[in-house]
Subunit: 360 residues, 2 copies
Amino acid sequence: MPPATVPPAPSLIPFHQARQPLFVGVDLGGTRIKVGVVDDLGRPLSHLSVPSEPRTGPENGAQRMGQAVRDAIQQAGATMASVARVGLGSPGTMDIPAGMLLDPPNLPTWQNFPIRDRLSHHCGLPVAFQNDANAAAYGEFWVGSGQDWHSMVMFTLGTGVGCGIIIDHLIFDGENSHGAECGHIIIDHREDAPKCSCGQPGHLEAYASAKGVLRRTEELLASGRKTSLSARVSAGHELTPLLLAEEAEAGDELSLEIILETARYLGVGAVTLMHTIDPSGVAIGGAMTFGGHDSALGRRFLERVREEVRRRAFPVLAERTVIDFARLGADAGFIGAAGVARLEHTKQKTAVQTKTQKKE
Amino acid sequence: MPPATVPPAPSLIPFHQARQPLFVGVDLGGTRIKVGVVDDLGRPLSHLSVPSEPRTGPENGAQRMGQAVRDAIQQAGATMASVARVGLGSPGTMDIPAGMLLDPPNLPTWQNFPIRDRLSHHCGLPVAFQNDANAAAYGEFWVGSGQDWHSMVMFTLGTGVGCGIIIDHLIFDGENSHGAECGHIIIDHREDAPKCSCGQPGHLEAYASAKGVLRRTEELLASGRKTSLSARVSAGHELTPLLLAEEAEAGDELSLEIILETARYLGVGAVTLMHTIDPSGVAIGGAMTFGGHDSALGRRFLERVREEVRRRAFPVLAERTVIDFARLGADAGFIGAAGVARLEHTKQKTAVQTKTQKKE
């Protein structure tokens, strides 16, 4: 069985070793809110998680997030004054410049909510706001797999396929807060292609997400192909990517085939992004990475993505573009959100300095 | 018959009306080199064209380009001193930061040639170097269809499908000079999808380029579908997008169907780019725009692209992203190259000012 996809808790540094200013990252999900204090070099000082309880409504959520921020600061042994800014990574749909949640499917009743300003009110600190997949990508760019890269694309494989694109500290959030929604690039133009969770046919997410994997598995099970999955499902096990991984590692050919086919689709998507962005590297993270570098199956998955890229990308890109697993695991969310806060803080500082220079 | 796709000569402004500094744009193609002097507001003062004669070799080419630059300056009634910089838009493959042509298929024998520095030597002015499709996109961004946009994607439809992506004066040339090669995004992941001119299956260019149009037309002709094209081809007419346009306007259903299908494929590609970049707008230019806004067929083509985008893009993007024809026609190349020169000149000026400020 591959290692669980839940990463270990991050190693924390003590307050006296931290380089100031500090930032707090908040990773808002449909189930949990992860919060951590991060120093100016991207190292976490504290890390906690509270339930989202989306049904209690957005104002209550913002209040509990604000409390979690203060708790994380206390846990870090830090003071409010040492924290320059809070970063919030949130699922969409959203209006990033306005700091608004618009209609987030995972947070029902949180529609049209000015979450940035309400969180700022409840924690008493300025808040930077960003899409969660973009924040995670920025975390990897800042202190993870992309820390030596000038530009990168990150895919986050889970129930869906998230994506973030960074070029030299520019986060692609787009003109309408829909930048880097690359789970929704079209890899099959046909009208009757498999449907994405968004309802449209042929999107990458319809093939390379957990949902896509399960759809293809169910099709193959229904076709009567021989596989040890049938017995597991009959015995009451839920069909999940983890179950596939277990059976693939135990020698089930069909399970392995589906996992490697998923890698092939991801490779196709990576090539489209490489021919669009031509980034330094492509990072692959999220819950569905089959154990990553620590597992033979994970390494085989990655090798299959790389093989597809080598076969299909322009030769110079096939040779030079790094394709690798992301490094921060589930911490990418809050570390990246802290990085977004730092980015905004730095920009504002520069703007103030420029203003001062102009006045002189 | 739709209007010829060759645009009218640009209207030129006299030297005394120009806002200085001036820039010279050079659009290097496999057949012709177009050169023009452009003022600080993007208005052309002169415009000429000389044969590329690629077979005479790159040094000879650079020499004739240098002469054309001086001729264009003279035609504009300007002096060398009034020109701040020359911009060169060139087909790839190339190394943009190094100013090198690497292996351009349209310029055989021009391999591994330091074209930026050789042109600079021959014209006596500093030269900025960029990919031709990126330069054309920057021209549209600067003073064409995108002049009111913050970010844009431009498709150039011709023998192939060129592309350029601009976000707020940032030209996407990528880490390896392969940015925005979006003719080569994969819109059909299957191994047996139609092949692109680059040899790979399923690329947008295999469907939405002139080559793709002709391949699909030949397939339908071979299948025995009734069409007035058969008689034209039998009478010795060459099968071209222009012939298709003529027959479509004369009422041939098959010709119209192929043209609108091309628009559909382009719409699919546009949606992938919209879900990646989320730009202010998407511009469609190049030789194969079926007469553009001036022709009923061109307008129908554009409407079909927009329809596909409305059906497939995220609702907010379908509503807000402008999809339109490019405005500069064949002048986009040299105007854009001049814009690239201006961009580099401005950056250098800013850098010098910052340096001066720091010294103070």
